[in-house]
Symmetry: C2
Subunit: 196 residues, 2 copies
DNA sequence: GATTTTTCATTGATTGATCCGTCAATAAAA
DNA sequence: TTTTATTGACGGATCAATCAATGAAAAATC
């Protein structure tokens, strides 16, 4: 069975297993054995490819954010008007790929872990900055700078808040409702406005 | 030193120590020894009064939510108009007592833990329901039912989102700005409206 | 008021379980 | 024969939880 070129396959399998394990258990308190087991390998192999648990978790978070980024770029590519850009960012955040319980649970768990790990914190700051930048790329075409800043901040907070509530399966259960809430907010802030 | 009636004092000290330990470390991964040490007692005593670590954590979360509730009731008591009731709820959420890094970090950590612990999940659901109910107690005096529901949901999500961002010390660092953001949202949704 | 007894407070030491990370060994391509 | 893939077993560290033992206040007894 041992064939060459297993590394990328195993890495992918282990990262997927990490997401599903974290998603099911709802926290980063998953053992290397459990993750490896889900990926169909021994825990020793997980250590072989990732060195330490920290690095596996880090790689997993990077993978999640990377997918979010890819999806966002694709959606932004299709948007034409500034208003569409804003909606595209929102839509992706609650898309089927991103708004899954497993992913959300992992995202939340990483948020907590970021308080301990400087590396994770850096990663999440990048996410936050990117989300802000993506929102601003649309908002600055509609609102004056200062106001755009505030709306971006509020929208980002709103998205994060809906995420966390989803994680607890409390209130706003489905993506449709979540999008509607954010869009409703944006509409009241943007309606009737145009480039000043 | 051993005197009678130590129990309530120790319990309080241990809960305070738990909050500060969690706040400093940023997660529930604190040992009983560390907590006990901060409270100036042995870990055996912590077990003596709380039985298990779970119960100490549970008691700590209950304490945090209980304080939030007390403050909210006081603020609501001073509010006269429905609009003031809404603002009171928001103000308390970001008051000096509630919006402290330690408390926020603990709150976030408990959010994650709630996915594992049914007891904690129940506690947080109560918090969510109470927050919603408190907001609605003002909003129903201003908006029609359906719309009030949506605004309450969005406001709650906004508050939670600002909390989580505060935990990461990213964006919206101070309470003033946070309150301004939420109030700005409320103003756009409520301005010019009155009981239909 | 002096004593004995009971209750409460407290801890050091220990146990048992969990889990990360390592390592030597195996097996199959290349 | 060298490289790559893979694992079982193990060492070592950490911790939650227990327990027997100690000391000191309070209550009961005389």
């Amino acid at each position: 069975m041992p064939k060459v070129g297993m590394e990328p396959l195993r890495r992918k399998a282990l990262i997927d297993a990490t997401i599903s394990a974290i998603g099911e258990r709802g926290s980063l308190d998953v053992t290397m054995s459990e993750i490896a087991g889900r990926a169909g390998v021994s825990s020793a192999l997980a250590h072989h490819y990732f060195g330490a648990k920290d690095e596996l978790l880090f790689a997993t978070m990077r993978h999640i954010l990377s997918e979010l980024n890819t999806d966002t770029r694709r959606a932004l590519g299709l948007a034409v008007t500034p208003r569409q850009r804003v909606s595209a960012v929102v839509a992706v955040s609650f898309s089927d790929e991103q708004f899954q319980p497993e992913t959300i649970a992992a995202w939340l768990a990483f948020y907590v872990e970021a308080q301990k790990s400087a590396a994770l914190r850096r990663l999440l700051k990048i996410y936050a900055r990117r989300l802000n930048s993506n929102l601003m790329s649309g908002l600055t075409g509609i609102l004056p700078r200062a106001e755009a800043d505030r709306v971006a901040e509020a929208t980002a907070a709103l998205i994060d808040g809906l995420y966390i509530r989803r994680a607890l399966k409390d209130g706003v259960p489905d993506a449709q409702t979540a999008i509607a809430l954010v869009e409703d907010y944006l509409e009241t802030k943007l309606s009737g406005r145009s480039l000043p």
